[in-house]
Symmetry: C2
């Protein structure tokens, strides 16, 4: 057998649009379109290598596997289920109409072998791929996801610390990379000004061009002056500042400047490549991380310690300060900063209260490819959830400020009791012809009941159950039993090999009554497992939500 | 809340028998009876502590959880699914009639935390339990399962090394616990003598009483004299010897004694609780594993190293020597025994050719409690598989030598293409009244497609995919999608925390036509994933079997 093809620069993938089927029904067609959507050049970071996002998160193991998946889907019968093992189609079995059409397991390794080293060995042998969260499970939707997640985080911070109003407040952060670049836009959408420190001019330029950041300051004094002006005026403007966070944060502490919130999204999790050491030029950094990776790592970690010490100083002044999932506290702690974990991670601080009510990154995609279908569903969401100005605000701003990538899609954070209502309404819109084609509803693996990740989503659980991964497994099994259209279970997403296990589901509104039943079950049960998991851990919000929603939790 | 009850010596559990239902249908009733069957004093090793077998393999987390599971099952509606998280009933959700009635996830931990230390911490906090393989998934059937598995293994060893005739040969082993106690009987059934070292007199007494072992020697010299006598006479007798294997094996090596095969079934996988350190009394061991678990673990692992070194010495003399799935090689390796893995595990040595055809530990239980129901199904198996003298021989010997424990049950190793036929036939027998009540069909987690365990079931896979656990996950998801009555996914069974991930399924023949359809799917798909997994790894037997059976494997 010839070696499998990992790179093919000649291929350009676009999902089919419109209402004509390539597969035997819309459930199967949805998977067929979504894997191609994930690899659309508008969506994927490196489509020639099948990489969707998140380092090396792939949609299929190699191009032969990709072709075989499409072929299998085109041939799949309506009562069959395709099994995908780390991006390779390995079997087709007869199940039934209410069973998932695709079942996916990506990057899962027996714990004692669950390291990057062993993964890369298997990956090189052609036996695996890295699925990340929504890359290998075919429900990535481009930047919109991270903008929304960051927005929700900022808004929740505002709720907790500023009575829900961030007008005239400003957020201090750093890092305008692939994910971090969403921060200034998210802050503006949340109503806050932001000062965004970034050491690479090219990164600032990109975000100015795409209007994710509003303006660039000349220097620190200029930046502070602009912040002063816009906060006074109550205008939610974002300011970029070229510089090193490890220098500027301590300087701000020294000057007694008081931001209203502090976080960071430099790539601290990767100290060799991700964090510019103090006093180094960017050119020097690029050269020395090649020629002297250990030295670079050590210098970066020393700088991170100073960075975190400044964050701790802000924290000590009562300013909301949080780790945004880049592991910078651990790095500082490694360097001897004993109290690095004094300020919290963003999940326990801001996202967990949402998770307690099953609220998480719900999203949907118009399989027609027609943006109008999304605008109509936006409208429907507002209609069905009339009393949530925050949600309406997000939808309005998303329409204005977020451009679609690949098949048009929308994300909004909704919870138990809302998700199934939206699903049923969308299905009705498909049935009565308001929408041009069916809609696929999914979510991130980072959700309320679907992930165990002790350094991120399940950090500092109330009962200490951070590492218990029974919960995402039950989520995957229940979604399968409830009739999701496809279900996935992955290892290592977000925080890397060994550190997380998580499940995904996608369910299709094809307009049928059978779909009504499945939607009602899946979109209730899926967030329901999140409420259950948090109620079991002892969170009052979750226990209350479970009671209010009538969940049957035998021992709560 | 009061502390949960882990020990209750006052409780004695027996499953209901007969044809009257406690639950709303037979699918639910099956789970209701089987969890109680697992804790019947005839079945469980330590029922007061809910321990079924395998060290601390439990059926429920504590007595409160046990009661709540029974209550949940009694109340469960026919379209609902109960979720069980490490032995605790955590939620009831609406699914549908063809979905599993129970979904179970036991002992699963995010890999970087997947150690006994972290497990015990969570276990102590009341957040987890150890599910082993069939303890927490309610399909343990007492010694019969392991007698059959061990018998198959010894027979295959005899075929490979002694032309299929073990007359006059003897097997050296240790451990007469819940599983290991099957060794002397299995050896006898396979035609060989055996010397069985066990450090607890109570365990020997139990096996003498139940006639699993024939006689006890006074000391090593006496044991060797008896072995000499019986091998000469060609009588397949089993001898127990009280002592510590870590002392006796090296002594045998020193004396130049040559057994015809060597293996071991002490509980090496659980170094705190499962292996008596050299030089310790049993009393001392019981005390110190409570007062000083780390010290006990370290002492046990040092002793295991000496034990394995003796096994290596036998191996070096050309004597068939194999690890019987207790992870003792890994423990020795941890202690610096670099070549511990020089002798193979029993799966690559003897079981894999069976797995390639989906053959594994198929079993069924008469929910009526009536032994006649099993005898009738035995007869049906012979009728449907007329051309397998080895299988007929097993069924005959099992009827004679194996007494039922708890609800009557039977095991026999059958594969893809046979399992669903038996299932459909049993269902027909329920339907037409030949059997007094429904039958539950299940299997061990140790099966063809259901486990990733690089030190045991997936050791030395042809393509190097030993540690890839996508496969058991797909098995669990597909069984759920196919309509098994309950499905389980566990971590750490057999070889301990960090070393395995595995799935189980049980499906009930209630005599209905709906059950026919589910049985046909589940009992085809379940072994089908085993053939698929081995075909994907490149085994010719599996590829041939897949072709012969018409499996759809897109890339094979
Ligand atoms: N919370 C979440 O949900 C979430 C999601 C995605 C990513 N992350 C984490 O956020 C971090 C950023 O992700 P990304 O995809 O944007 O990474 P990236 O590598 O694309 O961007 C990092 C940016 O930080 C800049 N930078 C590095 N050192 C700096 C310094 N000392 N001062 C100022 N700027 C500096 C770099 O120039 C780069 O532009 C990662 O650690 C990632 O793991 C968290
Ligand atoms: N191959 C398989 O299919 C398979 C199946 C089940 C169990 N196992 C493995 O086999 C092992 C035994 O299982 P079990 O259920 O019988 O466990 P168990 O704990 O019930 O029995 C182990 C026995 O070993 C004895 N023992 C411990 N240390 C000893 C020593 N140094 N010398 C002599 N005797 C000693 C104990 O007294 C006990 O009776 C476990 O590791 C289990 O994981 C393998």
């Amino acid at each position: 057998m010839a070696a499998p093809t990992r790179i093919d620069t000649a291929r350009e993938i676009h999902p089919p649009r419109g209402s004509e089927l390539s597969c035997k029904n819309w459930l199967i067609e949805a998977a067929y379109r979504m894997i191609q959507h994930n690899l659309d050049p508008e969506v994927a970071e490196n489509p020639a290598e099948l990489v969707v996002y998140g380092g090396i998160g792939r949609a299929a193991r190699n191009w032969e596997c990709f072709d075989a998946i499409l072929k299998s889907l085109r041939e799949l019968n309506e009562d069959e289920t395709l099994l995908v093992q780390s991006g390779k189609p390995v079997g087709v079995f007869r199940t039934h109409a209410d069973a998932p059409r695709v079942l996916i397991a990506n990057s899962n390794l027996v714990p004692a072998w669950a390291s990057w080293e062993h993964f890369h060995e298997l990956d090189k042998k052609g036996l695996m791929m890295y699925g990340q969260m929504t890359a290998g499970s075919w429900i990535y939707i481009g930047s919109q996801g991270i903008v929304q997640g960051t927005y929700e985080t900022f808004v929740e911070m505002g709720r907790q610390s500023y009575g829900g109003d961030l007008t005239g407040k400003w957020i201090l952060t750093a890092g305008l990379g692939g994910m971090g670049g969403a921060q200034p836009l998210a802050a503006s959408l949340a109503g806050a000004c932001s000062l965004n420190i970034e050491c690479q001019q090219s990164r600032i330029d990109f975000r100015l061009r795409t209007k994710y950041v509003d303006e660039q300051a000349d220097d620190l004094d200029d930046a502070l002056a602009r912040i002063e002006k816009y906060t006074k005026a109550g205008e939610a403007k974002s300011i970029a500042l070229l510089g090193n966070a490890a220098e500027i944060l301590p300087e701000l502490v020294k000057r007694g400047v008081k931001p209203d919130a502090v976080t960071d999204q430099t790539s601290a999790h990767d100290p060799v490549n991700g964090y510019l050491p103090l006093g180094w030029t960017v050119e020097e950094w690029f050269e020395r991380r090649q020629s002297d990776p250990e030295g670079t790592r050590d210098a970066a970690k020393r700088s991170m310690k100073q960075h975190v010490e400044a964050m701790l100083a802000f924290h000590a002044q009562g300013i909301p300060t949080f780790d945004y999932g880049n592991n910078i506290r651990q790095m500082a702690k490694d360097e001897g900063c004993a109290n690095a974990f004094d300020f919290p991670g963003f999940v326990p601080a801001y996202v967990r209260p949402l998770f307690c009510r099953g609220i998480g990154p719900f999203r949907w995609v118009a399989l027609s490819g027609d943006p109008e279908d999304i605008y109509k569903t936006d409208q429907k969401v507002k209609e069905l959830i009339p009393d949530d100005p925050h949600l309406h605000n997000w939808l309005d701003m998303a329409e204005q400020r977020i451009s679609f990538q690949g098949l048009p899609s929308r994300i909004c954070w909704v919870g138990l009791g809302q998700r199934h209502k939206l699903g049923l309404a969308f299905n009705e819109m498909v049935r009565n012809g308001e929408l041009k084609a069916p809609v696929a509803i999914g979510r991130d693996h980072l959700d309320s009941g679907s992930v165990a990740s002790p350094n991120r989503e399940t950090e500092a659980m109330k009962d200490g159950s951070d590492a218990v991964s029974d919960w995402p497994l039950l989520n995957a099994l229940l979604n399968t039993a409830s009739g999701a259209t496809w279900v996935s279970f992955h290892h290592g997403g977000g925080v890397g090999m060994g550190y997380s296990q998580h499940a995904g589901q996608v369910i299709v509104c094809d307009g049928s009554e059978a779909a009504d039943k499945r939607l009602e079950r899946v979109l209730w049960n899926d967030p329901g497992t999140g409420v259950m998991r948090h109620a079991d851990a002892g969170y009052d919000e979750a226990i209350d939500c479970a009671k209010a929603c009538g969940l049957k939790l035998p021992m709560v």
